[in-house]
Structure formats: C-alpha cells, structure tokens
Amino acid sequence: MKIHIKNGRLIDPKHGLDTHADLYIAAGKIAAIGSAPRDFHANRVIDASHCIVCPGLVDLAARLREPGFEYKATLESEMDAACAGGITSLACPPDTDPPLDEPGLVEMLKFRAQNLNQARVYPIGALTQKLEGARLTEMAELRDAGCVGFSQADAPITDTQVLVRALEYAATFGFTVWLRPQDAYLAKGGVAHDGFVATRLGLPAIPTSAETVALATILLLARETGARVHLCRLSAAESLAMVRTAKAEGLNVSCDVGINHVHLSEMDIGYFDTNHHLVPPLRGLRDRDAIRAALADGTVDALCSDHTPVDEDGKQMPFGESEPGATGLELLLPLTLKWARENGIPLSQALARITHQPAHILGLDAGHLAIGHAADICVFDPEATWIVASSILKSQGKNTPFLGYEMQGRVHATLVEGHVVFEGEENGQRRR
C-alpha cells in the first residue's frame, strides 16, 4: 500500500519542521517528504488541503477498561475513539480488574489490541500486587510481557517503605515509575478541591497539601534512590513550582497534566455537575493558570487525555457518590489547540506536548516524522469546528465537562503504520 498525502502543512515538532510539503508512505513507513521517490505510484491519495499533517498523537493515560470493566467501555470502542482523536500510541494505566500485575494479563491485552490493528497500546504495569501498595510485582517479567513503566494508577502506597523499595527495585532495571502524588490520609473522603466551592457546596474536600506532601516525599526519594519518576496528573500551582525546582537541580523527573485541568477550575462544578467530578479534583483558577504557564515553559512535559470512560449510571448520582473521570481521547487534540490558541503558543510547541515528548517518557521512538520510520500520522483541520455531543463521541464513555462545547480542530485522517485507521466525515464547519 502506497499513500500520498498531498497539499498539507507538515509540522514535526521534534525536528523543527513546519512547511507545506507532501508526504509519501510505502510499506508502512515514511518513504519521502517533499518530492515523490522514484517510481512511486500511490494506491491512495489523501487530500490534506487546509490541514495539518503531524505525527500521530501519543497519549500517556487512557483507560480502556479491559479487563474487568467492559460495561463502561471495550477495547473496540475505545480504540475507535483513539483513532478518531488522531492518537496512534497510548499508554494505559494498570487499574483494570484484575489490575495489570501479571504477565499473562499484559500479554492478553497486547494481543487483543494488536488484533484490532488500530492504535498501539502500551500497558503500564502495576507497581505493587493488586495495586495494594504492599508487595512488589514481577516488574522484569512484566517488562518482558510488554509493560513500558510501572504505576499505582490512583491507588495509594501508604507505606513509605514500600515506596522506597519499589523505586529502588525499578531503578535496578532502569524502569520508569509513574506516580500520581496524593497523600491517602490527607485526601481521605474528599471529592472536590479544598477551596471556596467545596465550602459553599458542602463537599468533602481534598486539600492541595494532599498532593504537595506526597510530591515532596516522592522527589526526595527519587533523588535518594536514583529512580526515574514520571509524575502524573499534577493539579496544583505549588506542585508545578516544586517540579520546576527539582528539574533545575537536575533531578530525572518528568510530569504530565490532564486536559480538563488546563481549561477548568472548581468554579465549573456549578450546581454539583458530576461531569466535573475528576481525579485529581479541579482546583482553583490560580492553579489552572499555573498549569497553563507550566505547560508553556516546559515544566510540564506532556498533556494527556486522562481518558476515563464512565457509564451513565456512574454519573447519575449525587456528586460525592458519583464515579470520577471524563472521556477524553477525542478531545485531546482540540483541547490542546484551544490552550495554544488562548495562550498564543506556537502550534509546533503545542503539538510537542502530545507527540514526541510523551513518546520520550514512554521510551518510544515515536511521535515524529522521519524517513524510514513507521508512518503514524495525524491529519487534522485546525479550523474545522464541531460540537461535543454524545452521539458524535465514539468512546463508550459520554461523560465530559465539555458536552455541548464547540471545539475547533477536527481529525481528517489517522494512519498507523501506513494504514488508514480513521477517516473523518465532512460534517465539520470550517471557520473563515
């Protein structure tokens, strides 16, 4: 199969490429950029007029809900959603049921995902058995089965000695440990940010210190053990300042934030809107602005969808009992573009946060365009607008704070290894 993507604006943040050029794909790889290779006869031509052609997106956190939560989502539905969102590689956290703590489970997930021939799935293995925070998993075996890192997802490690040992053991093999900093005791029972909105609505609160206290511990132990740590879903301004300092001191850490937290704050909870019940909680406006600034200055390495499909019943509950999380695979790109537009961030810099930078955290040679490399491509129209509606979302999860919002930026085509895995319908509105 030979594909010719013509008339597009090519952006490759890693190589500083931003130019109008055609892309030629053969045998699943990028064959040429600019002019066609000798004797190239395309089987297919994709017209990318008005569109941007960039590396397929890399998402650091997408819950596919398999195994165990198939009533919330299935691999089929969520892989469709990923491709519709221009995502070609994604990492999935280990909080399935059972958790990804045994090689067999990881192999099965990889096998199921590969058979779908869609986006590439990179499982994050459980750091401790059953995510209970007590006994280490067989990390080396899990790596051999396909895990690219180890995490507790949202489950706590309350015993700090276990945390030290997990970091030491992972460091032995050079594995990256992914941690979302949260002190289990300080966050106990909380469902919303400890601020004015939780006070007014009478919602049990999670203070900022639940994140910063745990983060301070992790940073100290990362330094002591030499483990490579990736910090997930930071939510507070103070946390970002701490990471900025740690990075300046040369500590080997990286971090990401979720797309919802870039745009929303506690104020958006309104009258107990459960679509805004997220983990970590939406924090203050000051925190949201600090997240946007840290994304811009590079303190935050990657932006992720934090895709968490929840079934309707899980959200039709009083706020405190409702299930946290939001669907996000199909919103990662438009919400990244929204941030870039609002903050005057160059497109190439914005795309870096969802392409080669997350790929680097995963240890993948992905998220960039180079001749001879796998043709994982996202073609999107940056001007096309669409309204977020449950009927449009391919994900089985229809829960998002952005329901009813107009998004700008729509995926036109997604390619994985030179195969077209998604093609958009022409129903978006173009903005003049």
Partner: protein, 316 residues
C-alpha cells in the same frame, strides 16, 4: 447550567434547594407568608384547604424525626396527602438507584418531594431529574443546605428582634459539617444582617469560610461579645473519633454555651439551636431551658415556615 435551578423562567420559586443565590424578596415573602400560617396553627381546626388533593412525598434517605414530623404536620395542615418514606432500609439496600426510586414515586402522581439525603447535592440532582410539574424541597443534603431550617431560624429572629439590619449574630460550633450553618449564613447575609460571626476551633471550620461573608472567631470570650443572637450547632459524637476534637469535656469547657459565657452577649440576646441538642456538650441545660432560650418556639415556627414554603411552591 448557570441558571438558578430553583427558579422558573419568571424568577419565581420552583424548588427550594438552598438559600444560596435566592433574592431577599423571596426570603421575605416566605417569612411574611409564614406569619399568616401562625394563626392557622392556633385555630381550633388547624387546617386550610390550600393543597387539597396534592400528594406530597417525604423522601428521607437519612433518619430524622423532628424535620420529617414538622414537614408532615405542615403538609397535613395544608390538607395535602402525605406519604412518608424512610428509604435507607428498603430500596437502597436492594441496589435501586436514587433516581429509580424517584421515578417510581413520581409515577404514583407525586406533586412534591421533600428530600433528605446524606450526600450534598442530592436534592439538586432530583430537582434536575423530575418532571416540570413536580416541586422539590430540600430537607437537608449532606453538609450543603437545610433551607427550611435556615428560614425558620430567620423567622424566629424576626419575631424576637423585629429587624435584621441592626443585628450581630454568632453561630457557634461545627460549621464544617453543618448544612444548617451554611443555610443560616446565606439567609443572614441575604437579609442584611451586618455582622455574622462563626466561633469554632480551626478543625471545625471549612476552608475559606470568610468568603461566605462571616467573621471568624476561635474564642467564645471575643466572639460572643455584644451579640444579639447566639445560634448553637449540634456536635456529633463521631467528631471526637476523627481527630477533630480531643473530647466532649474539653469542647464543652471552651465552646459550650454556659450562663456565664452568655453574659458576654447583649442582655436581651436570644439563644437558638436547630436540635437535637446535646446537653452538656454544646449547651448547658441552664441555658437551654433558660429565659433567653427560644429553642422550642423555633420548632413551632418551623411548621408555619414549612407551610409557607409548600404553599408558595404549589402556587408557582
């Protein structure tokens, strides 16, 4: 979503979910209407036919005696048919969701739901869900709101003090967990009370409580000085288990209302309590039964205020 979910398109009260965000005119209208119902309660035949033929469901997902009873009496004095449901024991334990329960009861031709639930926001959720002709009254949701309690407290204050614009009011105790305190604070500030104080140890105050428009005190000696109204909050025993307080004894010593501490307030100050009281924990019996206490009149006025709320909702 940004529209006030309690008001209809004409700005009239459709549901009563919280005092927060209600205009002063609506609060005053409820209090004025309640005034008229006091007389009904003193008649020999304590009934008016305002809600004849209406079905009011008391949906109590959390145990309550006093609130449920006063709602029941209020509805019956308005000639409504009242159905009491204590739900924590039945359907919820069978796994039926809250909204399924509501749908089933709505199918029995309900006109009004009076809802109490342990989760903040439960009444809002039900109000969003029900058919347009059904009214919802929040009878207490989690830590969020207990608007009829807040209103009956305002009614009591107005009865004894006449006006709101010249008062100092102190609310003492567990504001953190109290839906009553939140409703009182919104009602007092909306009705124009110039100085609302909260008095409590730091463990029992929510973050940023000043932003609700109150002055924070940690000492009774300072906080009670020259106040016109003292509102005591109930302290639940479980607070001692959560490391919020060391003991009931120490709490009583520093934050319990004794005759001695009450002398700091103005001589004509009134003492209120939403009940049920813990004598010897937050309030001394000598105060609870003393001449400044208006705790029992609060209960009586509660019926008139609930009659007012239900009749106004049914009329809108």
């Amino acid at each position: 979503m940004t529209l006030n979910p309690q008001l209809n398109q004409d700005g009239a009260l459709k549901h009563l979910l919280t005092i927060d965000g209600l205009p002063r005119a609506i609060l005053t209208h409820i209090l004025d209407t309640a005034e008229g119902f006091i007389a009904v309660s003193e008649q020999e035949v304590k009934k008016v036919p305002l809600l004849r033929g209406k079905a009011i469901f008391n949906l109590f997902f959390e145990p309550s005696t006093r609130t449920r009873t006063t709602f029941e009496i209020a509805a019956k004095r308005l000639s409504a048919d009242v159905i009491n449901l204590n739900i924590n024991a039945s359907s919820q334990s069978k796994g039926e969701t809250l909204l399924d329960t509501v749908d089933n009861l709505a199918a029995m031709q309900a006109d009004m739901f009076v809802v109490r639930h342990a989760q903040s926001g439960a009444a809002h959720m039900i109000a969003r869900h029900v058919a347009p002709h059904i009214h919802v009254v929040n009878a207490g949701d989690g830590r969020h709101a207990h608007p009829t309690q807040g209103l009956l407290d305002m009614f009591t204050i107005r009865k004894y003090k006449g006006e709101f614009h010249n008062l100092r009011v102190a609310i003492v105790g567990d504001v953190l967990h109290s839906r009553v305190a939140r409703s009182q604070i919104h009602a007092l500030t909306t009705l124009g009370v110039p100085e609302v104080r909260v008095i409590a140890p730091k463990t029992l105050l929510p973050t940023g409580v000043e932003q609700l428009g109150v002055h924070v005190y940690h000492e009774m000696a300072k906080g009670l000085k020259d106040v016109d109204v003292v509102i005591m909050l109930r302290l639940q025993n479980e607070r001692m288990r959560g490391a919020l307080l060391p003991s009931a004894q120490e709490y009583f010593k520093y934050y319990g209302l004794t005759p001695d501490k009450l002398t700091l307030a103005r001589p004509d100050a009134i003492v209120m309590h939403p009940g049920p009281m813990n004598r010897g924990v937050e309030i001394d019996s000598a105060v609870a039964d003393g001449k400044q206490s208006v705790i029992l009149p609060q209960v009586t006025y509660g019926i008139a205020v609930r009659m007012a709320v239900m009749s106004i909702l049914a009329g809108n």
